[in-house]
Amino acid sequence: MTTNEPISMNLLNQDLFKNWPFDQDHCLTCALCSSSCPISGIDGFDPRKIIRMVSMGLQSELVESRWPWICTMCGKCEHVCPMGIHIPDMMRAIRSLRDRDKVPGILHKGLDAALKTGNNLGLPKEDFVFILEDVADEIRQEPGFEGFAASVDKQGANIMTTIHNKLVNTHTEDLKHWWKIFYAAGEDWTVPSENWEGTNWGMFTGDDPAMKLMSGRIAENMVRLNAKNLLWPE
């Protein structure tokens, strides 16, 4: 969007986001948020403008803008805001208003795959278990880890852990760190063979029902496996 053109007053609908719980109307326009934000200035973006646009009800401008998507929702703006405006949550709410097929990049596609198959990659159960066993085999080659075994779907384990999809895709080496620690500590642990995805891209796309569903699957796995604790490093 361009920001240099005047905005016609008849576009304003100051009641539009009145029910949002982010306190945008309390903004003092002090611009501490803008000064604190590492991405201020890119493409005319700064958090204060977004807050004012929400206050003024400029829905289509907000939703079409890529501003909420280049923001990382890191919370530095909110941390310095003297009025305690929940700027990152507001960004996420704006993201949620986009048509799902217009969500940038692979975010919604990954989430869609996760909702259908249990993980962002659409990786079938047998392939997943094969990768885990393969990595376990590699660990057993290392001195001191000869007795290591991957623990899949074990009942009653002390710790159940989720897996970030990149660890069974391009970064299988990074599966080993936690597993080695578990082995050294004599931990009783397990990984579920389905719905193991630890990332939750509904958090990024502003999709609350999807986020709840993904989290719910992890809880279901805990119940199914009767696991005592959850390790969810994602």
Binding site: P38, I70, G75, P88, G105, L107
Partner: protein, 139 residues
Amino acid sequence: MAYIREGRIHLDKSRFSSVLATYHDPCNYGRKAERIFGQGFYDEPRWIISQCMENWVDMYPTRDSQYCCGGGGGTLTTGYNAERIFYGRKKMEQIQATGASMVIVPCHSCHGQLNAIKAEYGMENLVVKYLWELVADCL
């Protein structure tokens, strides 16, 4: 932490004795956890690092005033790569200022982002290490 405290794992501090490291506070473990759950995890990772190595320094600013790496909020997957690389400059300046050759992170997104952008800032040799990777390396 319990593994280390209870003596269930033993860590060898000599492994990285010649390395100077620094630590990056992920937004989600710090500032955001503090706001949403009422507790930011700032001291715990630092304590774990201190069990693994003697030579590490904090960046400035840090903890709840840290700068984001630029890889959070799904920005690694939106395709806005130029913006994401630009975003990371503050973090890379902070790391550079410490003189550290290793940055320790306990977050998948931060790890991915720092590794992806380090070459853009002439820091190809920077080692980006998961906190749990550091622990596993010191076993």
